[in-house]
Amino acid sequence: MSEGAVGSLVALIYLLSAILFIFGLKQLARVRTARTGNMISAVAMLLAVVGTLLDLGLVDYRWILAGLVLGSLIGSVLAVRVPMTSMPEMVAILNGFGGAASALVVIAIYWVDIAEKGTTGISAALMGDAEAITAFLSILIGGVTFSGSVVAYAKLSGKIRGGPILLPGRHALNILLLVGAVALGLFFSYGVADPVQGAAVVWLLLALSLVLGVLLVIPIGGADMPVVVSLLNSYSGIAAAATGFVIGNNLLIISGSMVGAAGIILTRIMCKAMNRSLVSVVLGGFGGESSGGTQGAGEYVSTRSAGAEEAAMSLEAARKVVMVPGYGLAVAQAQHAVRELGELLQKRGVQVLYAIHPVAGRMPGHMNVLLAEADIPYEQLWEMERINPEFRDTDVVIVLGANDVVNPAAISRRDSPIFGMPILEVHHARSVYVVKRSLGAGYAGIKNELFEQANTMMVFGDAKQVLQELIGEIKGL
């Protein structure tokens, strides 16, 4: 950073930026202030960029401008065009870019300071011990974040199979790669003294990190992917903090480590809501196709099915209806159809509520976004703790593409793999209609006892199609 007055001014701008990041993130975590919080954080980022440009002073801006313009353009086009249903994969890929940027910054610095000058000497002596070690960490973590996020993106967007891809001996292989990367990092810091060889070591380290990122994420099933994205989000923060150590910039250290810590906390909250332990998520192998076969699901002996006409009649006669949207609704893109049905019922004097399980949708909180986008009033979206006592005096519950989150086995069966998971207690309602494509198991791969209850009717079909049929029937009544 510059000396003298400009240096002090820049340092103060960075301090202000750091304060705004903290306030922004804090407000982002509260519903009422979230949007303002995001804007405060964006202002903090703008300040950081302005401060840095001020610090640079008069340099040649050609490359810098090219990068700024191109990046802003691509970023805004992506952000404006992405449909709300694709938000999980969008977050994943953006996060990957952040990780890649951190790794590239450090590599570029090595090139400017050492490789292109042809300076001879070990990196730890040329850059400083801490700088060399954190440079290695930034490349490793940034690389893992990038390739891991790309795999998460591909899985979430269906470009590759969502299920776990299990390689034989994968744990041993990962440990071997990690040990190899650490050894290379130490060699980079204290071993190699020739700049050409040093450059080769840097590329090798990047390659190794990229392979490690892929191998770490492919064994993890699609349903666990949100947790992985959150964890990778934390990594990208840590990578930025490591870059901060390399260039001696406290702002990067502050914001990077804050994001790293926030990401870990968020990951833990999500794991809890999904009844998964972080260790078992990371080890992989669990969770696959959302509508996967019936393996381990057990046979259903006494389910009853109904058509749209029957369901429409009991909806028409109800006083209070609760809709339970799940993953299947998001897949069928049926959120607008739900709203239409809800409005139709309300016009006929029926009270309509939406029960939102913490992990409904494709990512925790995703269902709220999807339903809000479909113009369903926020006041009608009730969270689990608030809606559960309501089911006892609810006439009709319509479960739309949700499965495990309404399985009473989570409460009643100690031996069930989902025992202890918080669920929506729809089984207390007078009648339950489950709209589902088949009797296939949810991602926990188990039988749902709700489907065999006497007051449950299965309505087989695609969520959107069934909803449209219901709307037609009710309009015709």
């Binding site: 975590a29 995001n38 840095t52 990208s236 901060g244 810590a261 809000a372």
Partner: protein, 95 residues
């Protein structure tokens, strides 16, 4: 005792982790996705590092790497803040 820049950095690092833990305590499930996306935008702070790397007009490996880093970080920053705002705008909307 005089702290060198590394030690100051370490202090800052550890204390900021505590701030991160403290700030994201008890966040409602509704906000998980936007929060992840908003925090993700903040990790684009690496843009500051990227800006220091491409200071000449020459076509060199370092400048190309630097410009690539600036581009990627900027996609992360601009894309991240905009999608987060798009999601949050839905919550505040009144009909």
């Amino acid at each position: 005792m005089v702290l060198g820049p590394l030690m100051i950095g370490l202090y800052v690092f550890v204390l900021s982790i505590f701030i991160g833990f403290e700030v994201i305590n008890k966040v409602p499930a509704t906000l998980h996705t936007p929060l992840m996306s908003g925090a993700n935008a903040i990790s684009g702070i690496t843009i500051v590092g990227a800006l220091y790397t491409a200071q000449t007009a020459d076509v060199t490996v370092s400048n190309i790497l630097g410009a690539a880093a600036i581009t990627l970080a900027m996609i992360n920053v601009v894309g991240g803040y905009l999608v987060t705002d798009r999601m949050l705008r839905m919550f505040g909307r009144k009909r």
